[in-house]
Amino acid sequence: MIVLRLLVGRVLLSLVTLLLVSLLIFLILEVLPGDVASRILGRDATPEVLATLRAQLQLDDPAAVRYLRWLAGVLQGDFGKALTSSRPIGQILGPRIFNTILLSAYAFLIYIPLALVPALIQAVNRDRPIDHALSTVTLVLLSVPDFLLATLLMIGFVVMIPVLPAISLVDDTSTVWQYVRAMTLPAVTLAIVMAVYAVRMLRDNLIEVLDSEYVRMAELKGLSPRLVLLRHALPNALVPTLNVTALNLAYLIGGVVIVEKVFSYPGFGSLLVDSLQLRDLPVIEATVMIAASVYIGANLLADIGAILLNPRLRSG
């Protein structure tokens, strides 16, 4: 009962947060120079044509009116149409979100072994050359920004070993196979960026656990080292790593923006960049609302999880 009341409170708070985010985005776009009309016309803009287009797009109305009009639409479940192409937001956003969810899932699938395997090797071979080598590699990768890593992977697996496409094209006619090919480089980029943090954390946790008394007990009982490592040590070392994974999910929302742009992958992140460049308010607001909802939703789940696991927090 208490949990339920808390949950309702949190959900309401989240809605207020979303409202504030939408207002903030609107205000930032107001302050930025240029508007969608000048972006559409580019250098062909003459004062007369600009005035016509602004009137057609109702950009001459006061900012408050425009914001409230947008908000009223959203409250009725209508996110409006793109100012540039007049296409409904759902039609624009739908395939992009699908592509990004697919890419994120693929990236997570690669991320798990990419984080586990090196950490296990390092923990078992502590202070041996392989441990130092992997530590160096993760440290280097940790300091490489994602767009550079994406470009390096592109040079490696498109130009030097031509196995993957440089331009990650997918559309509704693409086969599963083409999706896999197109998504591999962007997904590997995202997975590496996420995994390097996890590897370093998991290695240290594993080493700590391997030194603990119950692991020594298991060894003394004569269990095989493999069984000790995978059955007894790993699960306990994983718990703190889950926090890193949660943080990585947050990174993913920002990471896809850059990686999708580098590989021209038609996802949600590149849509955000595109619509920002065009100052297309309804598209920007819808995209940001979704990103914010994912963020808030993840935090909400984490909070609820923490409350359920920890009785002391329930009283609040």
């Binding site: 016309l41 580019g42 062909d44 031509p162 196995v163 331009i167 896999v180 849509l271």
Partner: protein
Amino acid sequence: MSRSLLIPAGAVAALLVSLAAPPAFAAAGDECVKVLGYEWSGEKQSMDPADMQSGDDAYHIFAVYNRLLDVDDNFNTIPELAESWSVSDDGLTWTFKLRQGVKFHDGSDFDANDVVYTFTRFFDTTLASGAPAVLAFLTPEGIKAVDAHTVTFATKEPVVELPVLISNKFTNIVAEGATHEDLRLKGNGTGPFMQEVFEPNGPVRILRKNPNYWAAGLPKADCIRVTVAQEPVAAVSAIKAGEVDLVLNVDPAVIESLKGDANVELLETGASNSMTISMWVDTPPFDKIEVRQALKLVVDRQAMVDTVLLGYGETAADNPVPVPSPASFVKEAPKRDIAKAKELLAKAGHADGLKFDLYTAEGVPGMVRMAQVYAEMAKEAGIEINVIVTPADSYWDDTWLKQPILTSAWSMRPPGEGLAVAYTQTAKWKETHWERPDYDAMLLKANTTVNSEERIKLYQDTGRLLAEEGGLIIPMFVHQVLALRKGCSGYEPRAQNFNLNFENLACE
């Protein structure tokens, strides 16, 4: 441990090998000639020729539609939907005879009413097209269908270059009655390719061969697949790996990496767009003609081409007419002269140097580098230039036309239009605040002089006046570089970068 290491390694290798294998199913557009564009217009992309808001729209519009006339790099006209044309003795009425038996993609016949509709539609202000600004010499009443295959354009004053001027990026012919709402998403032209897949900001555009195309035997390709990528490394990687057949715009920074590749042929255009440093002639210190001349004399133009454009360009003479053109007032770009520049500065009262801010942005590739190189060159003459780099995506909104000296760029136009577009009193984009009735009069005389030798002479004089006294430094023109995959042929790049012609493009 070694065994467990081998397994993932083997799995990774197997994965790589299987990814490299050709896909089992061909997806849409795999059999097409694959064209990669650079410019991007995202959700504002449109199939309506009246929009043409960026070069990105040209990739499909110039494949789906035809204009009355095509224009080559020397601004000579080539028949397209018009077979022949002539002008009345007073120079006021142009008559165009149209090609017969041409059909739109929806099967309807092309005739004079379509031409009249295409041109009069621009004057409907709700269309919000950029076309009226460049077709100001036309009036809707002056465009008439004489019979089914004859159209006349009547003007108030003689417009000698009318055939060239009505062949701009907006004037692809649409079918009579087609509305903006229809055309935006569904093109209906007479061009070599028909729209098969197109949606704004969509990942691919597929253009299918028009089986009824009026030019016999063309187009050569069955279909064209157009995609865009803004990342120069992605474009280079894609053509090296054979993922695309033609890259329409190769960033100078990555040209080197394609030079040694036997599978890639580099194509270079002539003067494609100008790079300028534009100053307000009514604002100190640029209001003194000596200062303007000194600022022109400090430029080492060849060095500018070599460093900023890495050699892919040509030197220019401070006016929009390229030096090799017959309409150019000089046969060679001006030389650098620091001593003379210092002398002029002293005469203008700046003997102990000059200092100002120069605004720029990477709004056009290379502009920032040009500003920086220019600042270095000017230093020797005692001119201290503080280069201010502003965000590229708001440059044309926020900085351009709003600062007294800045960098700019203009696409190639015929002399009469190039000399007018930013420099007459009635110009829409008065980049240099240059307002000279004598200049306008000379240009008007040139644009209305029928005798071509006299006209060229007048263009030369107009260009000279602008170069010697105006507030415009044009150190160079850019050459576009394109990359064509080995085994493909028939693509001729044009200096006007929107003027794309895929008719002869084919790959083995």
